[in-house]
Symmetry: C2
Subunit: 108 residues, 2 copies
DNA sequence: TTTTTGCGCAAGCAAATGCTTGCATGTATA
DNA sequence: TATACATGCAAGCATTTGCTTGCGCAAAAA
């Protein structure tokens, strides 16, 4: 049912973006992450599960700890989506963008 | 209450990403957009409202029609988030990435 | 071995999300 | 003017989301 875990949805939540930020350069265990937030450990655990399910985090068991490591390659999918529209805010192509804009104000 | 309309959340929904795709190069009125989907016109209307609220779409009234134009500059915010992690999947920096990865497997 | 620590599981809940149908209204068109 | 079209508004509803608390269990520490 909830196989809808895609990366776009995963990064939609600000807490999850914070978690990504937190472990991007330094892997942390679950409780160390949860300590940084005001919400309960369990809430963070659920966020992490979502990140795991969509491939943005990998968990390595180490004794009783779960070390969360960032696997951010999946963000490339989002980048691909964004990049195709980069033309619309990129300075060097602003002229083109506005041109297309004006050209299509009226529908066919 | 629902001023939580941020761009990340807006693009989390596949239908809304489709809408963005649809009007990126060609502005369309609301019904023309809704016709492309299986869901009701009203459902699409709500999606468009969300896109308007976060600044990704601008509506120009034209007679009885509402022309939806893409204003994708706001996507730059997402790009900024993504770009800081580009190093983690960029080939030329893979070595560095893996190095940092290994280095931080154990928490401090 | 007893206790503490790290974490998962499960139930419960309020709010948000995505969708629908029905009705209202302004704007073109016949 | 009567009618068809483009759209908004509102109510209702099922599902998902984000969160909480309480319990259980295995691993580490005392």
């Amino acid at each position: 049912m909830e196989t809808r875990r895609d990366v776009f949805q995963a990064i939609a939540d600000p807490t999850r973006r914070d978690i990504i930020n937190m472990i991007a350069h330094k892997s942390l265990n679950l409780n160390a992450i949860a300590d940084q937030f005001d919400v309960s450990r369990q809430a963070i655990s659920l966020h992490i599960r979502i990140l795991v399910e969509c491939g943005l985090i990998e968990i390595k068991k180490q004794g009783r700890e779960r070390i969360c490591e960032a696997r951010l390659q999946k963000l490339a999918e989002v980048q691909r989506f964004i990049q195709q529209y980069e033309v619309f805010w990129n300075n060097k192509l602003d002229a083109l963008g506005e041109f297309l804009d004006r050209k299509n104000t009226s529908i066919s």
